[in-house]
């Protein structure tokens, strides 16, 4: 048997799925930055983190990633999509592109994805749970109810989030996400 007669088969790059996930992570990252300025619950969650707190959400083994952090002045900022220069407090990784696609197309909710062992989380558990709560709130703001209900375990009732708060904040978050401030 001559091994050189057999071509090397490389795995597919899954361009469409990786681009879709990268776009979603970019939007979610900017939306978290916006929500931290607009929504009192998200603001409160970030106030419980110490200054310099940085978390990353991404896909193993090589990305795409989304980084959000709190600077020395306590401001929440989207830090881009490169891991390298930042010291991470919490690093949440989805194990592969297929699993990430299931999560970002809402075929699996965040909780179901955890139950299906799609995530690896390095860092403090309490901080990790706070990030899951923040992601839930951001999903409620970004997505129409029919889709957000697939992503979160329980869609907030009127007593938890009034329509006025939801629609007003949604407008502000979308504006800030698009403009990046």
């Amino acid at each position: 048997m001559n091994i050189s007669n057999y071509p090397e088969i490389k795995p597919g790059i899954k361009y469409f799925k990786r681009i879709y996930i990268a776009v979603m992570l970019f939007v979610v990252g900017r939306a978290i930055q916006a929500a931290a300025r607009v929504d009192k619950e998200v603001k409160q969650e970030f106030e419980n983190f110490r200054d310099g707190f940085t978390f990353c959400l991404g896909v193993m083994p090589g990305g795409p990633y989304m980084l959000v952090g709190k600077d020395e002045k306590g401001r929440v900022k989207y830090l881009g999509w490169k891991k390298g220069p930042h010291k991470l407090t919490v690093d949440m990784k989805i194990k592969n592109t297929e699993a990430a696609f299931l999560v970002f197309t809402f075929q699996e909710s965040t909780a179901t994805a955890y139950a299906h062992d799609r995530f690896v989380v390095d860092g403090d558990l309490i901080d990790g749970l706070a990030i899951v709560r923040i992601l839930g709130l951001v999903e409620v703001y970004l997505l129409p109810k029919i889709i957000a209900k697939l992503a979160v375990k329980r869609y907030p009732k009127w007593s938890e989030m009034s329509p006025l708060r939801k629609y007003f904040n949604r407008t502000l978050i979308y504006t800030r996400t698009l403009l990046g401030f």
Partner: protein
């Protein structure tokens, strides 16, 4: 049986069960290439003569196995500092394996020592978190002395950092013991009150494993077997502590429940139970037995079918067949409440049914009502809430704790409901 779209299940622990199972230990160690084990235990277990039982069972002709060292001062909820002390002793005595004899704290300490002794270094915190341990550790044999923890088959060790008042989880498949030995002699002298709440701890593991988001056919099978063994034997053994067949059945129920929850995780009962234990120091098993019916009630709108299926294992085929399908979930919850009541009566009031019955040795309430908000707040930082079928907010946690404190069934109208019916 529900088949989820994806699941993972792993139990790599060899289980040896029997009335004379301890005598198999030397052979098991030799097969693992070990001859100098260290025994890790606590003062209570040593005082009950159980370590002597293990040591004498290990003396058999022709074996090269000799106990290298014994450490018998593991504290109630493990401790980071103790890990270092025990590891130093392990290295000094040139041990090559560990035998853990005790309950959950001893098992967690043994797993922690195994990490440090196998991976090297002096700081266990280097290996904290999920999957930080990435290679096979030294041989570990687990011999449970309570029939509740299931730690002999779990991949988690939770070790307390008393200086910072936090509990540090260590999770890895490599933490699983190599062998679990279930011998009825190890729980024969367990007092009825402890038998009751450790048995209900195992029942909780099984019931939550059957209802939570990580459930799968393999964990379901072990959970139902565990529930059947515990419901048939727990009250019997509390009333007649010398019943060795019953003791062995409970030990098997506990290990099956451990296999179930280790692979499908747990939910609200453990979420609030961990917080209650952390804030008020209530033993884990007591929290579980009190909160179990409330956890099932809280998730009823999402998992009524699954809770109804528990009735078959709990009460038997005749009761199950005679109960209309719509009523089975409530009947299962009522059965568990009745179990708590029967255990309360059998222990002369020692087994608590609600939190306002839980008292310390001085007769003081261990869970004062003004601590309930702290418990609900602490529960927000516990990972078990992710796997619960329904969302748990601070208000939800407080509402459940108030009901569990008073001892009144949960008012289902107060439960904030998300999606109806289960989606796993």
């Amino acid at each position: 049986m529900l088949l989820p779209s994806y699941y993972e299940f792993c139990v790599r622990v060899k289980t040896i069960s029997g009335h004379r199972a301890l005598e198999k230990i030397p052979g098991a160690l030799e097969k693992l290439g070990a001859t100098c084990p260290m025994i890790i235990t606590d003062k209570g277990v040593a005082g009950a003569g159980l370590v002597k039982l293990v040591s004498s069972a290990m003396k058999s002709k022709g074996t090269n196995v000799k106990t290298g060292a014994v450490y018998d001062d593991v504290p109630a909820d493990s401790d980071l500092k103790v890990i270092k002390i025990v590891t130093d002793l392990y290295r000094k005595k040139k041990c090559d394996s560990i035998i853990a004899v005790g309950g959950g704290s001893v098992m967690d300490t043994a797993k922690g020592v195994n990490i440090l002794a196998s991976m090297g270094g002096d700081d266990i915190m280097d290996y904290a978190g999920s999957n930080a341990v990435k290679e096979k550790l030294k041989p570990l044999i687990a011999i449970p002395t309570t029939s509740g923890t299931g730690s002999e088959v779990t991949l988690v060790a939770v070790i307390a950092d008393h200086e910072n008042n936090v509990k540090i989880p260590f999770t890895s498949y490599f933490l699983l013991p190599d062998v679990a030995v279930l011998d009825s002699r190890m729980t024969r002298t367990l007092p009825p009150v402890i038998t009751a709440f450790t048995g209900m701890d195992a029942m909780t593991h099984a019931c939550e494993a059957y209802n939570c988001l990580g459930k799968n056919p393999l964990s379901d099978t072990t959970a139902l077997s565990a529930i059947r063994l515990i419901s048939r034997n727990l009250l019997r053994v509390v009333k007649k502590p010398g019943d060795l067949d019953g003791r062995l059945a409970l030990a098997n129920g506990a290990i099956l429940a451990g296999m179930a929850f280790s692979n499908s995780m747990v939910g609200l009962v453990h979420n609030l139970g961990h917080a209650t234990g952390g804030v008020c120091g209530v033993p884990h098993g007591i929290c579980m037995s009190i909160l179990l019916p409330y956890g099932l009630e809280y998730n009823l709108h999402r998992t009524a079918n699954l809770t109804g299926e528990l009735l078959f294992a709990l009460a038997g085929e005749e009761v199950y067949a005679a109960t209309p399908k719509k009523e089975r979930a409530e009947a299962a919850i009522a059965y568990i409440r009745q179990m708590n009541q029967d255990l309360h009566d059998a222990t002369g009031g020692g087994h608590a049914r609600f939190f306002n019955e839980v008292k310390n040795r001085d007769g003081d309430l261990m869970v004062p009502k003004d601590k309930l908000p702290d418990i609900a707040r602490t529960a927000m930082g516990d990972g078990a809430k992710i796997y619960n079928p329904e969302e748990i907010s601070y208000r939800d946690g407080l509402m459940v704790m108030e009901h569990a404190w008073e001892g009144i069934p949960l008012n289902l109208k107060k439960v904030s409901k998300g999606r109806r019916g289960q989606k796993f």
